[in-house]
C-alpha cells in the first residue's frame, strides 16, 4: 500500500493520535524537556502496555505484535506531530531494529520480549565524536578476551544513551578499517568502565549522550566482523522512520501557521487574506505533502522487501529534512515577533526540525548517497 493506508491503519493512527493529544500536550513537552530523562514513566508504560507501540515491528515469536514498518512509521509520525518526549526512536526504532537485523535467534529470544514490553529501554551507540553516520567513522575497538569482548573508545550523539539500560554498540576489531571487522555488542547501561554524560542539546526534546568505554565488558551481538550489513539495514529503517517522524512534525507546524494566519489581524484584516502569505501557505502545503509521499512510499517499500530500499530511505530522509526545516522557518515567519519568543510553541518544533535535519545524515549526505545508489 504505497499510496494509501488501509482502514485498519487509519484507525490505528487515530488511536495513537488521540492518546498523544491526551498525554503529550505542549505543556507536558515543556515539562519533560527540562528533565534529565526526558520521559514520563507512566506515559511510557501506557504506550508500551496498553497500546503495544514498543512491540509493533517485533515478530510474535519474540513477544511482539508482528506488524510492519508501515505501522511503526504511522506511530512515529504521530509522535513527531505531538513532539512526544520518550526514548521511542532510540529504543524501539534504532536499538530494537539493530537487534532484529543482527542478533542470533537465541539473542533475539533473550532481548526482544523485554524491549517489546517496554521493560527494557535500549540505545544504539554507533556515531563517534567525528559525527560521521557511516561505518568509516568508527574507531572504538573490541578486543577479544576468551569468549567475551572488551570495548574501548568514545561514542557520541547517542540518542537517549544516558538513560538506556541496554546499549547496542558498534565497534571494530583492532587494526581493521571501513566496513571490515565491524561487530555489534550489547552492554549494560551500568557496566563497569562505562561513563555516560548527557550532552547539552539545542533540541531539548531529544536527548543525546556521550559514552566513554574504558575496558567495558561486552556481549557479541550476531556474528563477529559481520555488522556492516545489519548496520546499514538498521540505518535505512531508522532513516525512513525519522522521515515519517519529521513529516508529522512538519504537518503540525504547517497547521499552526494556517490557524494563526486566520486569527491574526493587521491593517484591518486577517493576515491570511494577504496573497503574500496565502502563497507561502500553499507552498508549505506542497512541501509537506511531497515529503509525506516519499516517507509513506519508503515505509511501504520496506515491508515489501524492495531492492531499492536504501535509495528510497535516503530519498525520504533528504526530502523530509528540507521540508521540515523550511516549514519551521516559514512558521516562525508567519507568526512574526511572537514566533521568536520562548513562550510560543513554534520553537519546540523548529528545534526538533533542526536536530532531525542532521541526525542520521543531512540532506546533502543522503542526496550524494542516492546518486551513488542510482549509479549516476
Amino acid at each position: 500500500m504505497r499510496f494509501n493506508f488501509t482502514d485498519e491503519q487509519r484507525e490505528f493512527r487515530s488511536v495513537v493520535r488521540r492518546f498523544l493529544e491526551d498525554k503529550s500536550p505542549s505543556s507536558e513537552v515543556r515539562r519533560l524537556m527540562q528533565t534529565d530523562a526526558g520521559c514520563d514513566g507512566e506515559v511510557w508504560r501506557d504506550l508500551s502496555r496498553d497500546l503495544g507501540l514498543t512491540a509493533l515491528h517485533i515478530p510474535e515469536v519474540y513477544g511482539g505484535q508482528g506488524f510492519g514498518i508501515s505501522e511503526l512509521a504511522i506511530a512515529i509520525e504521530e509522535m513527531g506531530r505531538a513532539l512526544l518526549c520518550a526514548p521511542y526512536f532510540a529504543s524501539t526504532v534504532l536499538a530494537t531494529t539493530a537487534i532484529l537485523k543482527a542478533g542470533s535467534d537465541v539473542q533475539k529470544r533473550a532481548l526482544l520480549p523485554d524491549l517489546a514490553a517496554g521493560r527494557t529501554i535500549a540505545a544504539f551507540a554507533f556515531t563517534e565524536e567525528n559525527g560521521r553516520w557511516d561505518h568509516g567513522g568508527v574507531a572504538t575497538t573490541a578486543t577479544r578476551i576468551g569468549d567475551k569482548y572488551r570495548l574501548d573508545g568514545v561514542k557520541s550523539f547517542v540518542v537517549d544513551g544516558h538513560t538506556a539500560s541496554t546499549v547496542v554498540v558498534l565497534a571494530r576489531r583492532p587494526g581493521s578499517a571501513e566496513a571490515d571487522g565491524l561487530s555489534l555488542f550489547t552492554v549494560r547501561g551500568d557496566a563497569a568502565g562505562l561513563q555516560r554524560r548527557r550532552l547539552e542539546t539545542m533540541d531539548q526534546t531529544r536527548k543525546l549522550a556521550r559514552l566513554t568505554f574504558s575496558a567495558v565488558e561486552a556481549e557479541l551481538l550476531g556474528a563477529e566482523g559481520a555488522a556492516s550489513g545489519p548496520l546499514q539495514a538498521t540505518l535505512d529503517i531508522a532513516a525512513i522512520c525519522l522521515a515519517n517522524e519529521m513529516v508529522g512534525g512538519a504537518e503540525r507546524l504547517r497547521e499552526s501557521a494556517v490557524e494563526y494566519a486566520k486569527m491574526r489581524v493587521q491593517f484591518g484584516r486577517a493576515i491570511g487574506s494577504f496573497q503574500s502569505l496565502q502563497h507561502k501557505a500553499a507552498d508549505m502545503l506542497l512541501d509537506v505533502e511531497l515529503a509525506k509521499s516519499a516517507a509513506y512510499y519508503a515505509a511501504a517499500a520496506a515491508d515489501e522487501g524492495d531492492d531499492e530500499l536504501p535509495a528510497l530511505a535516503s530519498l525520504a530522509k533528504a526530502a523530509a529534512s528540507e521540508a521540515y526545516m523550511q516549514t519551521a522557518i516559514h512558521t516562525v515567519q508567519i507568526h512574526g515577533g511572537i514566533g521568536f519568543t520562548w513562550d510560543n510553541d513554534t520553537h519546540l518544533w523548529f528545534k526538533r526540525a533542526k536536530s532531525s535535519e542532521v541526525l542520521l545524515g543531512d540532506s546533502a549526505h543522503h542526496r550524494e548517497r542516492l546518486m551513488r545508489l542510482w549509479n549516476v
Binding site: Q278, L285, A318, V376
Partner: protein, 418 residues
Amino acid sequence: MTDALADSVRAEVRAWLNENWDPNLGLVAWRNKLADSGWGTPHWPKQWYGRDLPVGLVPIVEEEFERVGAVGVAKMGIRTLAAATILAHGSDLHKERFLRRILTGEDTWCQLFSEPGSGSDLAAAMTRAERRGNRWVVNGQKVWTTSAHRADYGLLLARTNVDVPKHKGLAYFILEMRQPGVDVVPLRQMNGHASFNQVFFTDAEVAPEFLVEQDSDGWKIATTTLMHERRGADSMRSFPKGSERPERIYREVAREIAIDLEPYKWYPQRAGRVDLIIERARETGRNADPVVRQEIAKLLIMARCAEWTARRARAALQQGHPGPEGSLGKLAASYVARAANRVHTMISGADAMLTGNDSPMNGVIAEILVSTPAISIAGGTDEIQKNIIAERVLKLPKEPRFDADRPFRDVPKNALPK
C-alpha cells in the same frame, strides 16, 4: 461495488468485443458501433451512448479493449471538455447534435475563453454577444486557442450584459467556427512554435438554440469546464500512442493522433524532460561534479515525490478519502519543470547558448530551456493555483476585491488591443 458486478461487466464486454471488434473496419464506422453499444463511454447515461456503469468499472472495460487491441472513442483535445460540458449542461438538442460526432472524432472542438485582456481573470471577458433579431451576434477577440484553425465548433464565453457584476453577465455558447465572421490567426510563442491561435469575431453569428446558459449560469458552466481542464493538467498527463499494426483502423488512428498531437509536440520539453537528466549528466561528464550531483538529486527527489503525490491523490479519490494532495499536481509540475530547466542548463554549460541542430540532442535541450516558462502559466498560473489552494483547501480568508459587486461597465479594464 461488488466483484460480481465487475466480473459480469468483464464477461459482457469481452463477449461484445469477440462479436464486433474488427480492425479492418473504418475508424468512424467502428466508433459509431461504440456509440450505439455504449462500450466507448460506459460511464455515460444509457440514453446518451453509455451504459450507466460506475466510473470505477471503466478500467475493466479499458483492460478488455487493450487485451484485443480495440480502438476507443476519440479523446484528444478540447472535445473531451466539450462532451463533459454538454453532457452535464446541454439540452437534448445539443446532445443529439454533437455527442456522437465528438465520440467518432469527426468534429474537432476548441475553447474560446482567454482574451488578451483577461487571462487569469477569465470572468472579465469583454467579447460581446448581443441579441439581434433571431440571432446572437458576437464581436471581440480570443487568444491561446488550440486547434482553432481546424475546429468545427468552439465553446465560447461572451458578455451579454455589462450592467450587472462581471460574473453575472456572461453567456456560454456553442459557436460554429466555419463562418465568415470568424478569423483565425496563428500565435507564435517564445519557443518558435505556433501551437495556438488568436480568434477574431466580426459580427459572427450564433443561433439561439446554441446558447447553453446565460446570466449567472454562464460563468458557472465555464468554471466546471476549467475544473475538468485543470484535473487533466497534473503530472499524470500522458499522450496516446499509436500502434504499429497494419490493419486499416490502426493506420487511421495513427493519422488522427499525428494531427491531434501536432500542437503538443513540445509539451514534453515544457515539463522539463527529467527523464533525460541522468543520461545527459553521464554523456557530458558533469556527473563527476559534486555540486551538479546535488542539484540532480534535488530535482529527481522532487520529481519522484510529485509523481507519488499524484498517485496518492488518485488512490485517495478512489477510496473516497480525497485530501489536500489532490490540488497540488499542477503546482508541483511547475516546480519540477523549473528545476529541470536549471539542471539541464548546469549540465549543458556553454551549449545552453545554442539552439537548433547546433544544440545538444538536435535542439531538444534548447527547446526545454525556452519552453518550461509555459507550464507555470498555461491552464491557470501558479499564482492562481496558490490562491485556490489557500482559499479552498486551507480555507484562508479571501483577499478583499473591488470588481465583484459592481456593474462590469464600472470595473477598471485593460485597454482594448489595437
